[in-house]
């Protein structure tokens, strides 16, 4: 299971970074989305992988790590997911304004700066 999650995270990062390095704004946004999946999973994995023990206390079950998974990374990731959405929105709008104002959707704001094209 650890191997599966680690490899999935790796694939997500690789794809995310590749798209992040593209020249077109929308591709970069896609890359950022993939990277945020990967990051959230990475932080989440710091709480270790425990199926079937959600951190919702049940009466009669002692509140220890033997019975529940670590809740802290979950709390961190929860806000991270929401914030990632907000940041994606900001980047998307920047891309839209960039396209409307510069007439190109190149991240550098113009085609000329892209040297090897």
């Amino acid at each position: 299971m650890e191997f599966a999650l680690a490899s999935a995270i790796g694939v997500l990062v690789a794809a995310g970074v590749y798209l992040l390095l593209r020249a077109r704004s929308f591709d970069v946004i896609l890359g950022l989305t993939l990277l945020s999946y990967a990051t959230n999973l990475l932080i989440f994995s710091a709480g270790r992988l425990v199926p079937g023990k959600p951190p919702v206390l049940r009466p009669g079950v002692e509140p220890t790590l033997a019975n529940y998974v670590d809740p802290l990374p979950q709390a961190l990731v929860l806000t991270a997911i929401v914030i990632a959405f907000a940041m994606t929105a900001v980047v998307v709008v920047l891309a839209m304004r960039g396209r409307a104002d510069n007439r190109v959707d190149h991240v550098d704001g113009s085609e000329s700066k892209e040297r090897d094209r």
Partner: protein
């Protein structure tokens, strides 16, 4: 009481700044009230301070770093506070008439009071760090005051220069103070002052001394940092009268006096401080002779007098210290009055250029008399206060022990400086009030308004009173101040006018005669009016500033040439290199850990996720498809959370996935549908290499983390969740209670992101990529259905919200749950109709959310608990039974509203962009799809 004394100017500054609509007269009175109240608060302490007591008040500020708000009123602080407040009253009174109707009086007085408060805080500080804080505050507020006439180039330049020099010195001082703290182990002034030997014997002493002296010399305009002061003369004259005679520039010498017990007593201190003081004394006085601007002359004279004070402290004898303190007070009185007189002349004649002035005693005899008396005090003529401290200086120069050469040099310097001082004072008097002129004035000058003269009168009377009867006026205060510096080592001293015929008196006469001779010789030999000097310091300063800019630009261009693509690449590469560096030559595979097995279903999920990711990569140029595929990846992430015991995360991820896809689709309306293929194969392979390295690295990192035994504080969170925060959903408890402050920050960020989107799109007009002709297409879905769906979703949302503290749910999730059906409404019914229906203002919704969250956090503070402490009640309601309610639910309501408002604001603004006025579309207009496709749909 002491805190009130310190707070008064700040409170008054706030009131004055807010009362900008009030009439000018009222504002003047309000501003004058601050130093008057300050004096009323200070004077009751006089008796105690003169008896040698040290009233004190402390409040913790940032104790972790040793910063305490500590007001300590010893003799030295008392004398300076008295000076700051008294001259403050006079300057406010004067400024009230000086400012023209075009200047903003509230702004001016607010800055002035801010400065007054900063100065008070500095002199009253009983903690070195607090002293540094207020020291910096004086630099900043003086920047605002010097640049008050911000439309003037010279004012802006002078302000920047003063800030750069004094601010830079402030940084050096901070470093020095931190070192003192390191040596002594405390920033408490009492402790520090008692550890003089410890500091002088420490290895760090030379560094401490250098750094602290840098702070002092820059602030007090000592050579070679003196050049900022003449340029600061671009300030309005009341500012010069206050800052550049009595307060700001005295901050440096104040600190020299304050730290005298721990810094002085070494040869290093003696040589450095006294020689810098002597050079400044001579350079300032010499250059003052050749100024044509009244204020310029006064500025250089100030530099020279500050040099004298520094020199006196450098001599390191108790009597020299007394003389230094005495001269601080004397200089403040005569120089403030001279600046005010210069301001009056400027005000009445329209010029400060001595080449155009002259013979003013005919036009304004009373002002002339006052200015002449003050100028004579500056020259050190008997019966005036300047004479007394100068005599003390001569006596001290003659009594330097153990350094025969220094005694010679200092004595000659003293006489020379005295000659120069008489010469420039004479020039000030002669060129302005006597001789021929004035030339080329617009109208006849006359006496200023009565209230503008009163401050000058008060100060000149003080000069005379101290000069004639020092024992009755200044002696007790001076004794108290000197004992604040010297402690028990205070010598017996008597200040009196007549010490008999002795060497200092002879030197005074040489100075007087030599000065008069020098002035008239210079006048006869050269045309003094024709000499125009440019400040060398200014040239060097700007040369260096320019070089710094060039360097900074070159550096910026080297690391960021404006290409985002390149910067991102560098960012990723640097991250990879930094993360990999610790492993180089140090890499060992850990023993194979025991892995948990993944069931088949899990591997299917893994397969979908990996294939989805690769498909995104493969399809990224066909954007619509990529968005759909990326949605599938997000879904798999959500399922991962489901499987790995994270129900809250799964719900959040699912909902965010929905809104993100909507967002991306909306964006695609305004972005090209496809990416242009890239031609450079090399670049693609390079990026592939970087991406693979990054992916492998992060995968390895994740694997390493997961296979190590976990060390976590989770057990504590789990155990304290129910008894202390009254919730069984520990994730939600962490969010709204244990780490509520973080969450508060996060909803603020979320809301700000919404506002940014709103701000960027609200007024913009954009042409879509493609446009469908004709009226909007009807969707194959009944509008009524969405009407039914909405209340249902609202119920679900509230249900999820209410149970959030004890079961998966909560503010974040509930807020997003509400977004989704509303989005559907927008799509089916159209934006206008939904917003008409709901009448909802999302911006207000965000604000309300923030407010509620902050208030629920603040209420515990009012009850004496820390920020965001949870309370708990279990009301028994009819029908529903016992309902456990935690006060954290209030905070969660804030989260709910902020998340809902933010998300809706983002999506609705993106959906409601107005069409461009100049062009219809970017690509093409597509013909309307065949209506037959949607047959059977009714509206």
């Amino acid at each position: 009481m002491l805190f009130l004394l310190l707070a008064t100017p700040f409170i008054a500054a706030l009131i004055v700044a807010l009362a900008h609509r009030a009439p000018r007269r009222l504002i003047g009175w309000l501003a004058a009230l601050a130093p008057l109240v300050g004096l009323a608060l200070l004077l009751p302490f006089t008796g105690a301070v003169l008896d040698g007591e040290v009233p004190r008040a402390q409040l913790p500020w940032a104790e972790q770093v040793g910063l305490v708000l500590d007001v300590r009123l010893d003799g030295l602080a008392w004398l300076f506070a008295l000076m700051v407040l008294t001259i403050g009253v006079l300057v406010v009174m004067y400024a009230r008439y000086y400012l023209s109707s075009k200047d903003s009086a509230p702004r001016f007085f607010a800055y002035l009071l801010l400065f007054m408060g900063a100065m008070l805080g500095m002199v009253l500080a009983g903690n070195l760090l607090m002293l540094v804080v207020f020291w910096e505050l004086t630099s900043i507020s003086s920047f605002l005051l010097i640049g008050f006439w911000s439309y003037r180039e010279d004012a802006r330049e002078g302000a920047r220069m003063a800030l750069a020099i004094t601010g830079g010195g402030g940084l050096a001082l901070l470093a020095g103070v931190l070192m003192i703290g390191r040596v002594v182990g405390s920033y408490d002034l009492d402790v520090v002052l008692a550890s003089g030997d410890l500091i002088r014997n420490s290895e760090l002493y030379p560094y401490i001394l250098t750094l602290v002296l840098l702070g002092i010399f820059t602030k007090s305009a000592q050579f070679p940092f003196h050049f900022w002061l003449p340029h600061a003369m671009a300030a309005p004259t009341p500012v010069s009268a206050y800052l550049h005679s009595a307060t700001m520039v005295k901050a440096g010498v104040f600190l020299l006096a304050r730290l005298y017990p721990i810094l002085a007593g070494t040869d290093l201190f003696f040589y450095v401080v006294s020689s810098v003081g002597a050079i400044t004394l001579l350079v300032g006085a010499w250059l003052a002779i050749f100024q044509h601007d009244l204020k310029g002359l006064l500025a250089y004279s100030t530099i020279s007098h500050l040099g004298l004070i520094t020199l006196l402290f450098g001599l390191s004898t108790p009597l020299a210290v007394v003389a230094g303190l005495f001269h601080i007070v004397n200089h403040a009185t005569f120089k403030a009055s001279l600046f005010m007189a210069a301001g009056i002349i400027d005000h009445e004649t329209g010029t400060r250029d001595m080449r155009r002035l002259g013979n003013l005693r005919r036009y304004m005899p009373f002002t002339s008399a006052l200015a002449i008396i003050a100028a004579l005090a500056m020259a050190g003529v008997p019966l005036l206060n300047g004479f007394l401290s100068k005599e003390m200086f001569f006596a001290q120069a003659l009594e330097i022990e153990g350094h025969a050469t220094m005694r010679m040099v200092m004595t000659i310097a003293a006489v020379l400086a005295s000659v120069f001082a008489v010469a420039y004072s004479l020039r000030f008097v002669h060129d302005t009030f006597f001789g021929k002129g004035p030339r080329a004035l617009e109208d006849d000058p006359h006496e200023p308004p009565r209230w503008m003269k009163i401050p000058v009168e008060v100060l000149v009377v003080a000069c005379l009173a101290v000069g004639i009867a020092p024992g009755l006026t200044i002696a007790p205060g001076l004794t108290a101040a000197a004992s604040g510096v010297l402690g028990d080592a205070l010598p017996e001293f008597s200040i009196s006018l007549w010490h008999g015929f002795n060497l200092p008196l002879l030197m005074s006469f040489i100075g007087l005669a030599g000065g008069i001779a020098l002035y008239f010789v210079l006048r006869r030999l050269f045309n003094i009016h024709a000499i125009v000097r440019e400040s060398l310091g200014r040239r060097i300063f700007f040369f260096n500033v320019e070089r710094l800019y060039v360097l900074a630009n070159r550096f910026t261009r080297a690391i960021a040439n404006g290409s985002v693509q390149r910067s991102l690449m560098l960012l990723v590469v640097v991250a990879i290199v930094l993360a990999a560096a610790p492993y180089v030559g140090n890499f060992a595979l850990p023993p194979m850990p025991e892995l948990t097995t993944l069931p088949l279903l899990g591997w299917i999920g893994w397969f979908v996720m990996v294939v989805g990711t690769i498909a995104t990569l493969a399809l990224y140029r066909q954007r619509l498809r990529a968005v759909i595929v990326i949605g599938a990846v997000g879904l798999m992430v959500s399922l991962t959370f489901v499987y790995l015991s994270a129900p809250d995360l799964a719900l959040t991820q699912l909902l965010v996935e929905i809104v993100t896809v909507c967002l991306l689709l909306l964006a695609l309306n305004y972005l090209p549908k496809e990416s242009i293929p890239e031609r450079s194969l090399l670049r693609r392979w390079r990026d592939i290499a970087i991406a693979v390295a990054a992916g492998a690295g992060v995968a390895g990192l994740a694997y390493a983390v997961m296979t190590r035994p976990s060390q976590t504080i989770a057990w504590e969170l789990l155990q304290r969740s129910l008894p202390e925060a009254y919730g069984s959903n520990v994730v939600n408890v962490i969010l709204v209670d244990f780490r509520g402050f973080d969450t508060w920050g996060e909803i603020v960020v979320f809301g700000i992101a919404g506002l940014i989107v709103h701000a960027l799109l609200k007024r913009s007009r954009m042409a879509p990529e493609e446009k469908v002709e004709g009226p909007p297409v009807l969707l194959p879905m009944a509008a009524d259905l969405s009407q039914v769906l909405f209340p249902l979703a609202l119920t679900v949302s509230i249900y999820l919200f209410l149970r959030g503290h004890n079961a998966p749910g909560g503010g974040f999730i509930a807020g997003l749950v509400l977004v989704v059906p509303l989005l559907l409404q927008y799509i089916i019914q159209g934006m206008k109709s939904v917003e008409r229906c709901l009448g909802f203002d999302y911006v207000r919704c965000i604000g309300l959310g923030w407010l509620i969250a902050a208030l629920t956090g603040l209420i515990p503070i009012l009850l004496g608990f820390p920020f965001l402490t949870s309370g708990h009640i279990e009301p028994h309601l009819p029908l529903l039974g016992e309902i456990p309610l935690s006060s954290a639910i209030g905070f969660d309501i804030g989260v709910y509203l902020a998340v809902f408002g933010g998300a809706m604001l983002i999506l609705s603004t993106m959906g409601g962009i107005r069409p461009s006025l100049t062009r219809q579309t970017y690509r093409a207009t597509i013909t309307r799809p065949d209506p037959a496709l949607f047959r059977g749909v009714r509206r």
